[in-house]
């Protein structure tokens, strides 16, 4: 651990305050506010075009904001050019320079900082050892595998001891097996260095597995910030619910008032929702596949409420079976633990869909 000490710098916070970015009529980031704590492994998660990469490049200094500011360690860096920000970025394509060896790539940032030659050599070796590539120092980038290239890109970035580490979809160019391994390595490295790290991804699994907190973005707006579990359990809106994990969303409308207030699901079935239940007037019923249970049609209700449904398909997932069923006008997924191949619901038959008030969410439209 001592060997790594020279590469660690005190962690700092990153604050983004009221940032707006637009290209012509295209409003890419809208009033973005974020507070990333020091030492945090933070993810920007969202679909293509949500603005997450723009936000990352804004922190690195490659974009200019129309308004708002970026603070690193409490200092406003909005006016600084990229080369004065001390923000290390690992590019999606790695951006390794083909005309330099691995060692020269890693040495680059140190040389630009005017670090003495001996010190450069020492730190390059250190950084390469950190990612386990010390033996490939004299290779050219084109002679490395994808995973190796990715690690060189990381080594090159951490070698300059940045205040913040930015990772732009660093795993997207790797195969599935490699991805799982590298993401564990990244997490481990971040833990060791204690570096504030921002990770841009469109893959919720990546974000969930390695990040402390996630900002879910859509359409240039931060939808919700929280730990992976918070986001999963208590999505703030339909977008977050749908983007993180599988969510069944049933549309419908409120009918009646007072004690007779009911939620009528598209297709006709109704659920009692007293005014005291806190269910808003315009909302959708949301639940996760594992939070519902199927029971044979015509049997007794096993939960707060039950809906009739038709089984239309199933997938065997090992420990569980995912059923696809149609309830009213909505197609829903339901996970049932797999016990025996003899206790299955057959496609084409009817069944009961049982849900508890405690495990469903009512999300405003």
């Amino acid at each position: 651990m001592n060997a790594i000490a020279p590469l660690t710098t005190p962690a700092v916070s990153v604050d983004i305050q009221g940032v707006n970015v637009s290209y012509g009529d295209n409003h890419v980031l809208k009033n973005v506010d974020l507070a990333i704590k020091s030492g945090e492994f933070f993810a920007f998660l969202g679909p293509s075009g949500c603005g997450k990469t723009t936000l990352l490049r804004l922190i690195a200094g490659f974009n200019q904001a129309d308004s708002g500011s970026v603070l690193i360690g409490g200092k406003d860096i909005s006016g600084l050019p990229p080369w004065k920000r001390d923000v290390g970025m690992v590019f999606q394509s790695y951006a390794l320079w083909p005309h330099m060896t691995v060692a020269r790539n890693v040495a680059f940032g140190l040389e630009e900082r005017g670090v003495a030659r001996d010190e450069v050599r020492r730190r390059v070796a250190l950084a390469l050892d950190l990612v386990g590539l010390g033996h490939l120092a004299e290779r050219r980038p084109s002679q490395l595998s994808g995973g190796q290239q990715q690690r060189v890109a990381v080594a090159r970035t951490v070698a300059i001891e940045p205040k913040v580490l930015l990772l732009d979809e660093p795993l997207s160019n790797l195969d599935a097996k490699m991805r799982a391994q590298v993401r564990r390595e990244l997490r481990e490295l971040q833990q060791r260095l204690g570096l504030t790290t921002i990770f841009v991804t469109h893959d919720q699994e990546e974000a969930n597995t390695i990040c402390d907190r996630i900002a879910v973005m859509n359409d240039g707006v931060i939808q919700q910030v929280g730990t992976p579990m918070e986001l999963y359990e208590r999505p703030a809106n339909l977008f977050v619910a749908n983007f993180l994990g599988t969510a069944n969303i049933m549309a419908g409308k409120i009918v009646g008032t007072g004690r007779d207030r009911r939620f009528e699901i598209e297709g006709g079935m109704q659920i009692h929702v007293a005014e005291t239940s806190g269910v808003p007037d315009r909302a959708k019923l949301v639940f996760r596949p594992q939070h519902a249970r199927l029971s044979p049609a015509g049997g007794p209700s096993q939960a707060s409420f039950s809906l009739t449904c038709d089984i239309i398909g199933r997938e065997f997932l090992g420990s569980s079976i995912r059923y696809f069923a149609r309830a009213g006008a909505t197609e829903v997924a339901v996970d049932m633990p797999f016990q025996s191949s003899r206790q299955l619901f057959e496609p084409g038959t009817a069944a009961m869909l049982n849900l508890d008030y405690s495990s469903v969410l009512w999300l405003a439209e």
Partner: protein, 572 residues
């Protein structure tokens, strides 16, 4: 998949320019203004003045449109340029395709030989070509003997088209070959996988992908042919625009603005052509940033294909190199007149030029090297400003530099005399009498070539490579020095070679500016020899020396490119 969806290209994201970039842009603008705008302007403004009063008028352009000869010339110039592009493509396509697409023994040799036609020394090249293809050249004399027919290779507009397409087809060859090499192997394999093969594969996948390269070359050919005056004049074709401009500008005793009016028309037409080709290319920039795979899958030809392939290549090379062969023969010939081959051979011409040529060679090397050097510095700078910054008006640098392509050398030469002869150094020598003026004129004339090559090279570098450097603490200037320039090295060298080799045989501007024999380059020496009957042999010998010299430098730089590419692991 990736999350860069907002702007079509990442490079478009740079919003502002650094003070350094602004200073650089201003410096380049000043250079272009001083050495291109000012001299040319002092000459061309005559086209906009009224006879007698000297006040501004457009009546001369009205005269231009109304004059049948000029409109005919305009149309002929368009026709000849377009047809030259067609024929140059016919020559270039098989050479480029076969040498990049197939495992082709001698591909490097073909590429090098294919470059040679571009370096045809003035005057003597035309004489050599006449001796081979002329109405009483070797081929026609033999044809007349055997079958009693003659082919008018060198007659009229068709003659111009023939000579121009042979002369300029290397532009298409070079650009197309580069583009073909950069196409990812997977593109072609995907098409093959979907059932496409043979010519359809070429027509539907390979050629469209190489289209940017092809268009870049084709537009150069078009503009060069449109603006070239030497070839039509040597074939005695006068009803084309460039020769009309030249004849009028240089005839003594005639103070007619039409020559300058035509020059303006030439420049406008050329810039328009370049602009159109740039527009046609917009959004078709298929440069593959991922340079893995190493280009097109090289197929092995079947024996039958090989025979056909080599046959076609040899035939084309024989045709386009015939002028050089004729030049070589001429340089060894005693008398060659109205006969298929010279009467006898001698080494005397080489002996005659041996003593003087060392001075010419030295001057040529200095001038062409300096001009090429200036060109690539400017080329890299302009390409960078245009492609990597959002400076207002940066395209104008590009257009201005490209406009140099269209300015007749003699207009530039006169402009330099007019603009700089009055400027004296402390000791009283005029600025225009220093040999550096020749270098500047050459650099301005050849800048468009280097600029094209540099732009193409920069376009192929992914912006993230530069951003990575900035992210690690390198300023823009440092990034250019340590990342951009090394990665562009191949393109820069290619630009240098093109500028250098064409500058080495340039005459029209030089002729006006050479002040003394001790400052004269090879092309001038050639011109002096070619003014007399006895000078024909020595002139040819000097021409051979020029071609060899340029070819040697070209091969040398190709070797350097290859070695550096290999060292970088970017080669294939």
């Amino acid at each position: 998949m990736t999350a860069i969806p907002i702007a079509p290209l990442p490079r478009a994201r740079r919003l502002s320019a650094t003070p350094g970039q602004i200073a650089l842009a201003l410096a380049i603008a000043a250079f272009l203004l001083l050495f291109l705008g000012l001299p040319v302007g002092t000459v061309l403004y005559v086209g906009f003045t009224e006879k007698g009063t000297g006040s501004f008028t457009l009546v001369n352009f009205y005269d231009f449109v109304r004059t049948e000869l000029f409109m005919r010339s305009l149309w002929n110039s368009f026709y000849v340029s377009a047809m030259s592009v067609v024929w140059a493509s016919v020559f270039a396509l098989p050479l480029a395709y076969l040498t990049t697409r197939f495992v082709f023994r001698g591909a490097a040799l073909v590429q090098t030989l294919g470059f040679l036609p571009l370096i045809m020394p003035p005057f003597v090249g035309a004489v050599a070509m006449q001796l081979f293809f002329g109405r009483n050249g070797s081929i026609n004399l033999l044809l007349d003997d055997w079958c009693g027919l003659k082919i008018g290779f060198m007659e009229g507009l068709n003659g111009v088209i023939f000579v121009q397409s042979v002369h300029y087809f290397p532009f298409i060859l070079i650009n197309l070959s580069a583009a073909l090499r950069n196409i990812d192997r997977a593109m072609e394999e995907a098409a093959q996988n979907l059932g496409s093969s043979g010519f359809r594969l070429f027509r539907r996948i390979v050629f469209p992908l190489a289209l940017p390269g092809y268009l870049a070359g084709a537009s150069l050919v078009f503009v060069k042919v449109f603006d070239d005056l030497a070839t039509p004049l040597l074939l005695n074709v006068k009803d084309m625009l460039a020769p009309q401009a030249y004849l009028r500008v240089t005839s003594i005793g005639i103070a007619d603005p039409m020559g300058y009016v035509i020059s303006v028309v030439l420049i406008v037409a050329s810039v328009t052509a370049m602009w159109l080709s740039a527009r046609a290319l917009k959004g078709r920039d298929y440069a593959t940033t991922q340079r893995g795979g190493g280009g097109l899958a090289r197929r092995i030809m079947t024996p039958w294909e090989a025979v056909l392939g080599y046959g076609v290549v040899i035939l084309i090379l024989a045709l386009v190199l015939a002028p050089h062969l004729a030049l070589l023969l001429l340089s060894f010939a005693t008398i060659w007149s109205f006969s298929p081959l010279p009467d006898a051979f001698t080494l005397a011409h080489y002996a005659r030029v041996f003593g003087e040529s060392s001075l010419y060679i030295k001057n040529t090397l200095i001038y062409a090297t300096l001009a090429g050097g200036i060109d690539i510095v400017l080329g890299v700078a302009i390409a960078y400003l245009v492609l990597r910054t959002k400076l207002v008006g940066r395209e104008w640098l590009d257009w201005a530099a490209s406009a140099a392509l269209a300015i007749p050398g003699v207009v530039l030469g006169i402009g330099y005399l007019r603009a700089f002869y009055g400027v004296t150094l402390p000791d009283g020598t005029p600025l225009a009498s220093l040999w550096i003026t020749i270098v500047l004129a050459l650099a301005i004339r050849r800048l468009p070539y280097a600029l094209r090559a540099c732009s193409a090279a920069l376009q192929q570098i992914s912006v993230s490579l530069e951003e990575a450097a900035e992210n690690l603490g390198a300023t823009k200037a440092r990034t250019v020095r340590r990342i951009v320039v090394p990665l562009m090295a191949g393109g820069i060298l290619a630009g240098f070679v093109t500028s250098f080799s064409t500058a080495a045989v340039e005459l029209s501007a030089t002729l006006m500016l050479v002040q003394s024999n001790s400052d004269a380059p090879l092309a001038y020496g050639l011109y002096v020899f070619m003014q007399s009957a006895a000078g024909r042999g020595p002139g040819a010998a000097l021409g051979v020396v020029a071609v060899l010299l340029v070819a040697l430098c070209t091969v040398l730089s190709h070797l350097i490119i290859e070695r550096s590419q290999k060292a970088k692991g970017m080669g294939h």
